[in-house]
Symmetry: C2
Subunit: 321 residues, 2 copies
Amino acid sequence: MESSKKLRIGVDLGGTNIKTGILDETGAILAKSSVPAGAQRPWQQIADDIISSVKALMQQMQLTADDCVGVGMGCPGTIDSQNGVVVYNNNFNNWQNVPMAQYLRDALGMPVRISNDANCAALGECVAGAAKEYSSAVMITLGTGVGGGVVWDGKLFEGGAGGVELGHTVIETNGKPCSCGRKGCFEAYASATALIRDAVAAAKAHPESSLNQLCEGNLENMNGKIPFDAAQAGDAVAQEVINEYIRMLGEGITNMVNIFRPEVVLLSGGVCAQGENLTIPLNAYLNEHAYGAQHNPPPPVKIATVGNDAGLIGAAFLLNE
Amino acid sequence: MESSKKLRIGVDLGGTNIKTGILDETGAILAKSSVPAGAQRPWQQIADDIISSVKALMQQMQLTADDCVGVGMGCPGTIDSQNGVVVYNNNFNNWQNVPMAQYLRDALGMPVRISNDANCAALGECVAGAAKEYSSAVMITLGTGVGGGVVWDGKLFEGGAGGVELGHTVIETNGKPCSCGRKGCFEAYASATALIRDAVAAAKAHPESSLNQLCEGNLENMNGKIPFDAAQAGDAVAQEVINEYIRMLGEGITNMVNIFRPEVVLLSGGVCAQGENLTIPLNAYLNEHAYGAQHNPPPPVKIATVGNDAGLIGAAFLLNE
């Protein structure tokens, strides 16, 4: 089929950089560039830089629009993917109802599709990463917040505009405050930010804990790795922080499994460097708590493998119909 | 188109009765029958009764297989819709991996598709009820338990086998025990059973509350209507029960809105006789708590309108490709 030989262009618009890539049909990145996002500028200026980046890469590879399936772009915030509109994005000078896809389409003369960056990262893992062998996946990204992406039948399930906010589901009513204004969201317990918050609190409450030494006496040095390191070295206070972190992560993941029953659950984000320290207890948690697990084995929890390019790769595969 | 003139056969297999109907392309029921399910018999005997019911209705209407799109069936339990298998169902003598669709297909010579009964009810509301004007909906059924159904682009979103168990998502970690073995599920707070449990506890703790009189001195008479009646008559104890019930229902519904962002949320089940006593506070709750509500208005919460036949109608429309 001719179309399957065409190349794909992916854009990953982040708060810091605009990353652009040209990919083949297997998801391999043939050429790539990165320019500063200049996030606080008017949206048209940012869009013009995206257009320049795409054109430069195409020129570098001597491509015309006819050689390409089109352009896919991942972007933080609330995206109306069907209409190609950024409904709201507070990372970029309060974008509201920005008609991004149309603007890019007019300038580039190619089909353009946009989606949320967490969605794109999940799709990237299905194209080229840990979910390559599966047709459905839920990916949970454990970073500053908790992001979610759902792939079904090899395509994104995007919900309505502003959907698939898997991190913004309450798992402890009236619990810890969340960035979204609710209390007790999955994000407020399972993000790297939450892990660090709880480790700092435990270190303060227990001056004898090695968490304090590992931070070299300054708790501002706490990160998502230190509590795991301390626990593995036998620190009981750190072990308790980790146990509770994994339990709450397990609660949130079990909820997503009971809702979607994907073939695989993927974890991404910095905390996932812990690998089996997360997947072994989480798989055990799911086997004990997922709905009807004794008759219907739950999906495995695995670590995402693509890393930083997952969003770029997934974006390039948004145009997959 | 010829196929759009064909009739549809729906079966609603419940713990008590097998309901069968023949429907036209608008979802109108042209003929209907009901026979006892005899739920504790071997599955083949129940399937044979389903086959007899379908054949009898077809004969009554002088139809052959060529006149029909096929047969759809809703069934409680964990259903592998793609393969037509009842993975597990503890309402029917512990069915496990029952190849129901194949069995019916062999006997009836028509396409057969099966799905979970809560899914079918949601689809029925989209075909002929409160979600008729929408292409996506999440329906929450507040009964003995809390069931869920998701319709997307006019079709069921079924997840993997055993998915869309929206009631089995924890909203209060380590909370009240749920029938599924977890603690703190949405179902454990938002079912009619939970409302009754909390109203009984409040009545016991407050002998002065009119909840006791309305039960005629016997708290076994408590039902899902009494606490609403008492609250409306000014009983502060009952009002507190209702406020907390609606708050927890709001938490669970907000979670589903943040995950799916459907065009509408429907409520069904006995408690929904309360109508605006539920929808007014729940819509206010969503407007305050849904993710990004200030920039992206959440969907309305409405009461389902089809009633008991929703499952039968939805089942008949499972074959909608």
